[in-house]
């Protein structure tokens, strides 16, 4: 009952705000729509019994990443959207092919019969809590955890190297 209400409300708003993000002229407005979209994604995570992910979605996505986007938009401070409309029609045709192809894929899947999955498994008691995720992350998926740290380290180094004003990098 509650699941279907929250699914339709949050999912619908998420899709709507995603479309509004793509269509909006102003980059600040687009970023605000995307923040709204991520907040609704947190609702979707909540009904998927992943409360930890819902919290992280708000903290990391809607908080940190989108603040970074807004910060850069404000810093560039340009009327960044001028002269975009000129070439848009050039890409519209190929882009319109995408929904058609997606519909085709869905239709083929439909014709091949229902999704042949095993039935849903019962959830453990602590499913999706911070404790359960952390225990998986630090035992079974330790390699993924270390990979995350390497990805972030490379990103930090790359951002610093790109952001340096005078180019005194060792390999130049």
């Amino acid at each position: 009952m509650w699941e279907s209400i929250i699914f339709w409300v949050c999912g619908g708003l998420m899709l709507l705000s995603g479309i509004m993000m793509v269509l909006s002229r102003n980059a600040v407005v687009a970023a605000c729509w995307l923040i709204f979209c991520f907040l609704n994604a947190a609702g979707i995570f909540a009904i998927l019994s992943a409360p930890f992910l819902a919290v992280l979605q708000v903290l990391v996505y809607a908080g940190a990443i989108m603040v970074l986007f807004l910060f850069v938009i404000m810093m560039l401070q340009a009327p960044v959207l001028e002269a975009e409309q000129r070439r848009r029609s050039l890409w519209l045709g190929p882009a319109m092919l995408l929904p058609v192809l997606a519909t085709l894929v869905v239709l083929i899947g439909w014709l091949r019969g229902p999704l042949n999955l095993l039935p849903a498994q019962p959830l453990p008691d602590d499913f999706g809590t911070a404790q359960a995720v952390a225990s998986l992350l630090l035992n079974e998926y330790l390699l993924a955890f270390e990979l995350i740290s390497i990805v972030l380290l490379v990103a930090i180094i790359g951002a610093i190297a790109l952001g340096k004003v005078e180019r005194k990098l060792p390999w130049r």
Partner: protein, 101 residues
């Protein structure tokens, strides 16, 4: 009507399609980056939905990994964007065709 796995997959597919269309149609590099974020978010929904379907927490671990990838992508992409803007005074990707000429 109960919400099944298919509903979540349909939602994620629609979101992914929206992000992909935005990436192709829009020529503003900032909005293209945001569209990539939308696509990553759609994959997160799929991970979480399957994770609950199987009753297995592994999907949550990969959603966490996806968060980190999205953060790294945003940081590097925006750093490149700022550098391009500093040199070319534009973030329109159609005007960036030095390699083509």
């Amino acid at each position: 009507m109960a919400i099944t796995l298919t509903h979540y997959l349909a939602l994620a597919g629609a979101l992914f399609l929206t992000g992909m269309l935005g990436f192709i149609i829009r020529r503003n590099a900032l909005i293209m980056l945001m569209s990539v974020e939308l696509m990553l978010s759609a994959t997160n929904v799929v991970f979480a939905a399957f994770s609950r379907h199987w009753g297995n927490g592994a999907g949550h671990v990969f959603v966490l990994m996806n968060f980190a990838v999205a953060a790294a992508e945003a940081a590097i992409g925006l750093a490149i964007l700022v550098e391009i803007y500093r040199r070319r005074r534009s973030v329109n990707v159609d005007e960036l065709k030095v390699l083509m000429e």
